[in-house]
Structure formats: structure tokens, C-alpha cells
């Protein structure tokens, strides 16, 4: 591990201690005097409760529920640390909550849960859903995470998201749409190899197929090799990992067996979301791809192949998960905006079409600025991208009949922009007035 990373670790620990955690709750109404509690609390609040008791959907209007989501985890697969448990997952969830607020204006509450089984966790999520406008699942081990997303999307009438699945899949699709434009190929024509069959690529494959990729031309590779209908462990997969099983039946039309060495031959696109490199994907692999190859090496902190190596081996468009290289595939471009848009129109669900729309809007945004080999996806500094994606997702929800509030494009865009700006301005004011201490200088 590098010295720089070690330093980040030390800084994070000392500052977390200095500040006593990273988030706090702040009222959004004035308190002119203690008398005001007769309004905000008893007896006044009984009126509000009565109104909601008569019509539970009024809770979206009369409480902060409409803009509050729960970030739910059981801590079973946290970053690269594995199963570290709920308490240890808390700092990560706090960080995620900060990103939700800073980039999306969404109030997010870290809800770490000690659950022994996936059913227990799903049960908790279902039972706390009345408090929230949406749920983001995070850092939950596979295959449980697939069960949870599928089940909660079905049982709840508030939007549910698993960022490790959908955020990565959407950001990948956005980059791929533009990369294909750069090289002049069509999604339905290309051979796509997906290295790694975890949350990111399982969701990624499903999303690519929904967006028009030919499943027969997609090959997924897990630790045992390529997925295909005759693999030895298919029966076991049907029992313990039906999501991988379904993809094994649907994809790899040519039944290429073996591993990356065999599957990569003639591939137009490689999407690697597997173990950190370098050397997981080698230059020889890239050389065996077709002309104008597209390589997304998304592992963190070190991509499966260094981008310059991929380019030297002939790849035309390369992307990674890192901000210090061009074309960063970053979930943070997606989830804050998706929730902003979804919450503003009080959509009941987030369905694949909305996820695809988020990806397409990201792609459009970049295209307007001029795409090239080194610019296929917006960078996080391009602030306007968040209200744009939020608007696109909200409009799609309205189009699909999933929105409880039907607003116009301008209204949505205006709200999204305001909500995000407000959260940043608030932070500014707190810092300027020393209500948030400056970072101590060593």
C-alpha cells in the first residue's frame, strides 16, 4: 500500500476524532422562542399527525420524509475491507451521506443494521420505510445484495437503489455510449467481455442488455472462468446464485470456455470490475481485442491494467475508476442526481428505464462539450451535470407514470439546482461562521 494512502488513512482517523463524526441534524424551520414549540411540537403537531393519519401520502408533504433517504448496510462487504460489520461501516455511510447532500441536496441518514440474514435485513428496510422517501443499499455482500434489491424494489413504494450495482452500471453505460460513438460502433453489434461477476458487472450486464446490447455477444468471467449454460457448477448456481445463473443461460452465445485469455479474442469492449491490479488484465489481452478497442478498468484503488499500458497495447478509449486519469467512471455522478430527480417528483420506484435515462443524460452532457478518446464522461467538477441528470430521471419517471408529482421540465430543473445550491451555501455559511471548525493545521 502506498505512502500516500497511509497518509490519507491517518488524516481521516485524526479528523474523524477531531470532529466527532461527519454529519449532524439541523432544523430547517426557525425557532423564534420556546413558544414556537407549540407549533413544532405539542399541541400544534397533533394537527399535522391527524392530517397524515387520514392520508399517509401527506407525510411526503408535511414532513422531511420527501427529501430523506436511508443508507442501509449490514457491513458485510465494505469497500475493499470485506465483512467488517455495521459499526465499522458507519464512517463509510457517513461519507456517502455527505456526498448525497453535497452533490444532490438529499438528506441521507446512515442506517447500519446488525442483521443475521438477508431476509432480516430486507425486513428491517421494509419496516423503516415509512420514515423515508427512498432507500440506498450499500456495501452488502453478494449474492444477498441482488436478493435485497429485487425484493425491496418489489415490496416498497419508495425508490430503492443499490449503488454498488446500479451506480456503477449507469456510469459504465454512460461512458460506453460515448466511447462507442468515438470509435463508430453500435451497442447491439459489439462483443463485450465483462471481467468479474460481482455486483457491478451482474448489474452492468443486466443494464447493458436492457439498453440494447446483444446478450449472446456478452461474456462474463468470474473466478471460475466464463459463464455459459454448460458450466459444471450451473446447478449449484441455480440454487445459490440465480442471478448469475440467469446470465449464464442468456449470454456467451458461442459458449467460449476458459478465462480471459480465451474470451478476449476479438472483443470490442472490455469492462473489468474485478480484483485490483495491475496485471489482472495484461497488454497481451488488449492486443487480442478487435481494432479500436474500448477498455474500462474499474477496480479500485489500482485498475486491472494501467491506462497507459492499455493504450500502448492498442486500446483506443480507456477509462478507470480513478480521478487522476481521464474518463473516471464514478458512481457519484449518478446516485445523488438520480435521487434528486426521483425525490422531487416523488417517484414510487426507480426502474431500469430511469437508470438508463440517467446514463444517457450523462452521455449527452459530455457530448455537448465535445467527446473524444480522453473525454467520454463528465467529470465531477462539472456541477451542472447533477441538475441535468436529476431532471432527465424525473421526467422519465413522469413519462412512465411512476411520479406522484407531475412537474414541468423547468420546474424540476429549477428545484434541483436550488436544492443542490442551498446545501452548498448552507455548508458555506456554517464554515464562515465557525459553526464548523476549520480543518486544524498540523
Amino acid at each position: 500500500m502506498s505512502e500516500k494512502t497511509e497518509e490519507y488513512y491517518r488524516t481521516a482517523v485524526s479528523l474523524s476524532s477531531f470532529y466527532g463524526g461527519k454529519i449532524q441534524v439541523v432544523p430547517k424551520v426557525p425557532i423564534r422562542s420556546l413558544d414556537d414549540f407549540s407549533i413544532w411540537y405539542t399541541p400544534g403537531v397533533a394537527g399535522v399527525s391527524n392530517a397524515i393519519a387520514k392520508d399517509p401520502d401527506k407525510s411526503f408533504e408535511l414532513t422531511s420524509r420527501w427529501n430523506t433517504i436511508a443508507i442501509i448496510t449490514n457491513g458485510t462487504r465494505v469497500l475493499g475491507l470485506g465483512n467488517i460489520g455495521p459499526e465499522a461501516a458507519l464512517p463509510v455511510m457517513e461519507g456517502k451521506a455527505m456526498i448525497f447532500k453535497y452533490l444532490g441536496g438529499v438528506d441521507a441518514f446512515p442506517l447500519v443494521v446488525r442483521a443475521k440474514t438477508k431476509e432480516e435485513l430486507a425486513d428491517v428496510a421494509e419496516r423503516v420505510s415509512p420514515a423515508f422517501g427512498g432507500i440506498n443499499l450499500e456495501d452488502i455482500a453478494q449474492p444477498d445484495c441482488f436478493y435485497l434489491l429485487d425484493r425491496l424494489r418489489e415490496t416498497l413504494d419508495i425508490p430503492v437503489w443499490h449503488d454498488d450495482q446500479l451506480g456503477t452500471a449507469a456510469a459504465t453505460l454512460a461512458g460506453l455510449v460515448n466511447a462507442l460513438k468515438v470509435v463508430g460502433k453500435r451497442l447491439s453489434d459489439v462483443k463485450i467481455v465483462m471481467l468479474g461477476a460481482g455486483a457491478a458487472n451482474i448489474a452492468g450486464a443486466r443494464l447493458l442488455i436492457a439498453a440494447g446490447a446483444d446478450p449472446k455477444k456478452i461474456i462474463l468471467i468470474d473466478s471460475k472462468g466464463t459463464l455459459h449454460p454448460e458450466r459444471e457448477d450451473m446447478d449449484k448456481l441455480q440454487l445459490v446464485h440465480p442471478w448469475k445463473y440467469e446470465l449464464a443461460l442468456k449470454t456467451n452465445g458461442e459458449r467460449v470456455a476458459g478465462g480471459l485469455d480465451e474470451a478476449i479474442v476479438g472483443a470490442d469492449v472490455l469492462i473489468a470490475a474485478s480484483t485490483p491490479g495491475p496485471g489482472v488484465v495484461r497488454k497481451e489481452h488488449v492486443r487480442r481485442m478487435s481494432d479500436n478497442a474500448i477498455v474500462f478498468a474499474e477496480a479500485n484503488p489500482v485498475p486491472e491494467i494501467w491506462p497507459w499500458e492499455a493504450k500502448e497495447a492498442g486500446a483506443r478509449v480507456v477509462a478507470t475508476g480513478r480521478s487522476d486519469f481521464p474518463n473516471q467512471i464514478n458512481n457519484s455522478l449518478v446516485f445523488p442526481a438520480v435521487f434528486r430527480g426521483t425525490l422531487d417528483v416523488r417517484a414510487k420506484k426507480i426502474v431500469d428505464e430511469m437508470v438508463i435515462e440517467a446514463a444517457l443524460e450523462l452521455a449527452r452532457f459530455a457530448e455537448e462539450r465535445g467527446i473524444s478518446e480522453d473525454y467520454i464522461i463528465p467529470t465531477m467538477e462539472e456541477w451542472e451535470v447533477y441538475p441535468r441528470v436529476a431532471t432527465a430521471v424525473a421526467l422519465k419517471a413522469i413519462e412512465l407514470g411512476l411520479a406522484r408529482l407531475k412537474l414541468s421540465r423547468d420546474e424540476i430543473r429549477e428545484r434541483a439546482y436550488r436544492m443542490i445550491k442551498k446545501s452548498r451555501d448552507t455548508l458555506d455559511v456554517l464554515v464562515r461562521n465557525n459553526l464548523i471548525n476549520p480543518i486544524p493545521v498540523k
Binding site: 454448460e230 459444471e232 441455480q238
Partner: protein
């Protein structure tokens, strides 16, 4: 109905493919229940079993073929129960279809054909055996009108 599937009796040259299918079946059983964990020399034992079943008149070994490739197998035998009536029953001991070929109605067709042949050999009842925990198989047979009849309980005594 015209499709590319053929259900026929197994031949000697099907042996290699059938060893694969029946071994997968035994491993699948092991996934359901640790007391059904296959032995290390599974393929060898399966091969011996299949060789004698394919060439024996007492066994019915059916395969379903798609474009010349065997994708499913059903093995049954006519047995005399001796103490109960009807005495002659057909016992389905092994039944496996490759994952890609499931959920297409082939299972029903194979059991139907097995029933026909077993009846012609004198069977007046059909038994099917599978791990208790295999709820998929249970549902499948119930849909065909089968119900549970005896139970096998097990305990290790090593």
C-alpha cells in the same frame, strides 16, 4: 408439435455424454443435501451403472436430443413390490435435464414417454425418487399427479 427435440432410448454411443449428465445429477443432489455428497470416483461408478443400464432389458434409459446432442436423461426400472398391489411398478431413479433446456416442457414429455414404456412393460404405478430437499423436483412431480408415499430418514453412524 414439430420442434427440434427427439426423445428416444439411449444407445451405447451416448455413454460419454450420459456419464456427464448423470454425474451432474449426483452433484446436484449433493448441493441439496450433504448426506448425498458424491464420492471421489463418481464418474467411474456412474459409467459402470450406465453401461449396465443401457444394455439391460430391465432398465429404461431415455434421452432427449436437440440437433443430435443429448441434453437430458431419465433412467427407470420395472420392479416387483411383492407385498403390495399393484406389484409391478416403474421406478424413476435418475432424471436430469441440462440447465438451458429446463422450463420448456421437456421434463413432462420425458416422464410421459417413460410412463408409456413402463406401462408396456407391465408397470401399473410409477415411483420417482429424489432428495427430500429438492423442492423443484417435488413441485414438478406433484404437477404430474404424484404424491409422497414412503419416507427415508438418515443418520450418520461412523
Amino acid at each position: 408439435m414439430v420442434d427440434s427435440f427427439t426423445i428416444r432410448r439411449a444407445r451405447k454411443d451416448d455413454l460419454e455424454r450420459l456419464v456427464d449428465l448423470v454425474s451432474r445429477l449426483k452433484r446436484l443432489n449433493g448441493e441439496f443435501d450433504s448426506l448425498l455428497t458424491p464420492t471421489e470416483d463418481l464418474e467411474r461408478e456412474v459409467s459402470k451403472y450406465l453401461e449396465s443400464a443401457i444394455s439391460s432389458d430391465d432398465y429404461v434409459v431415455l434421452v432427449v436430443e436437440d440437433g443430435g446432442k443429448v441434453e437430458g436423461v431419465l433412467i427407470a426400472k420395472v420392479v416387483d413390490r411383492c407385498f403390495y398391489k399393484p406389484r409391478m411398478v416403474g421406478q424413476i431413479s435418475d432424471f436430469y435435464i441440462m440447465p438451458e433446456y429446463r422450463r420448456r416442457g421437456l421434463g413432462y414429455r420425458m416422464v410421459e414417454e417413460a410412463e408409456r414404456i413402463l406401462r408396456s412393460k407391465g408397470a401399473e404405478m410409477i415411483f420417482a425418487e429424489f432428495p427430500t430437499k429438492n423442492v423443484i423436483a417435488e413441485g414438478f412431480y406433484r404437477n404430474l399427479g404424484f404424491r409422497e408415499i414412503t419416507g427415508i430418514f438418515a443418520k450418520e453412524v461412523k
